[in-house]
Symmetry: C2
């Protein structure tokens, strides 16, 4: 009988390889199998799906508590997954887990999220992939419930796989585990940022602008990511990157022309 | 009778404010109305939907041929549109046009495209927005046909508007105008990158990795962006950013839990 090997899991993030979130995640996932880490060497929030194409990448061994923790990459979350799977790792992982991000990635934030982009690269390579975010921007937030839930979902995903071209976007409320009400499969909500730029003047009299904004949850439907999270549930949204607005195709036919 | 004012058009790109593509576009769009430019101060390809949130932005007046050409922003295409509309411009534009990009943005490239991301920001702010890319990576490519087509489509979009939460992703073959076969409304194709990293060794004996890859057009259906482009048509895909895979929701219900 062929011996079933233990799962091989690639972990990455966008907060950087030295963040508390990735440490908690790696520690917890070791219960499930062999874990390898490849993550940006510094904070990469809001980089979206950026790829580094105009400068070379490097992968440095990063140590934590005297042990090799993983590869620190001088690039984006997407770079980290691409470089790891194509070049650094000896075999294709069974699962990519990106996180635990410090801050939620719901609604339109998916577009800007480095955490989700890393899982997207895993999915595009054909590996079941999940993105995990904790709804707290504090680097001191307790990641233990989020880590436990990541293990629980990872185990089921390794066993059952995921639908084609689809990854799981998981958002976890910043609550102690016994206060979390459960897990819901949700839709992406239509919440929005009300953003603006604060204009300031530097010591030389020149203008500069700081990005700022408030996040507005509009959609109160419990079947959406933001509402489920606010109600104390873990939100899991199956997401894909199919951009065509099929309903709009017929409406735009008036632009067509043939010679 | 109220006098109808001329359209106010914001132009941006991801190749940088000094690229030939944006110059050709601005020159052509001046036939339609008042044009204002806010674009990255340097090349920003493959930045995706990245936003600059950890450092301040600046907007410098950029001159071309002795005239004020536009605002050069030390950020991404998304930053440029957000900062321009919220802060730099006196009124909300009637249209955002991003381009003319040197290189096509079809299929999965939409995810990584700074050109598309700029139009996405316009769309998210509620402005009809289009992204224009020319299927040639050469900075010396003739942009005149692409500029003419941009004007033609822009005029119709200003008149008719666009479907809600939708932008137009326009790709133009690198052909003289009389060789272009027409305009097709298309779907995003499923083409893919076969990417890899070339490993090299620096003068100090350390490894570094260059991203590289070939683009593979799999989908030959003329109703898709890549195939239409290859056949000599302008491809216009109405795109949106709704990530939920609705078909997968039922399949993932086994992950749900309630207390």
């Amino acid at each position: 009988m062929k011996k079933r090997k233990e799962p091989y899991i690639l972990v990455t993030n966008d907060d950087g390889i030295d963040s508390p979130g990735i440490f908690a995640l790696v520690h917890a996932l070791k219960k499930l199998g062999k874990v390898v880490v490849a993550a940006p060497d510094r904070q990469q929030s809001a980089v979206g799906h950026a790829l580094t194409v105009s400068k070379p990448l490097r992968a440095i061994s990063f140590h934590r508590n005297g042990e090799m923790f993983g590869y620190a990459i001088n690039g984006t979350p997407s770079d980290s997954v691409k470089l790891a799977v194509s070049t650094l790792l000896e075999e294709k992982p069974d699962l990519v887990v990106s996180g635990i991000n410090h801050g939620q990635n719901t609604s339109i934030n998916i577009l800007y999220s480095g955490t989700v982009s890393a899982a997207t690269e895993g999915m595009l390579i054909g590996i079941p992939s999940i993105a995990v975010s904790l709804a707290s921007y504090s680097l001191g937030a307790d990641c233990s419930a989020a880590a436990d839930i990541s293990v629980e979902v990872s185990k089921k995903v390794i066993k059952n796989g995921l639908p084609k071209d689809t990854l799981l976007n998981i958002n976890i409320p910043a609550l102690p585990k016994n206060k979390i009400k459960g897990i819901r499969i949700t839709r992406q909500s239509d919440s929005q940022w009300n953003d603006h730029y604060e204009k300031r003047i530097d010591p030389f009299g020149r203008n500069y602008y700081w990005f700022s904004g408030e996040y507005k949850v509009i959609d109160k439907d419990i079947e959406t990511d933001d509402a489920a999270l606010l109600a104390g549930y873990v939100s899991i949204t199956p997401i894909q990157f199919k951009f065509t607005n099929n309903d709009a195709i017929a409406k735009m036919k008036f632009l067509e022309k043939r010679k």
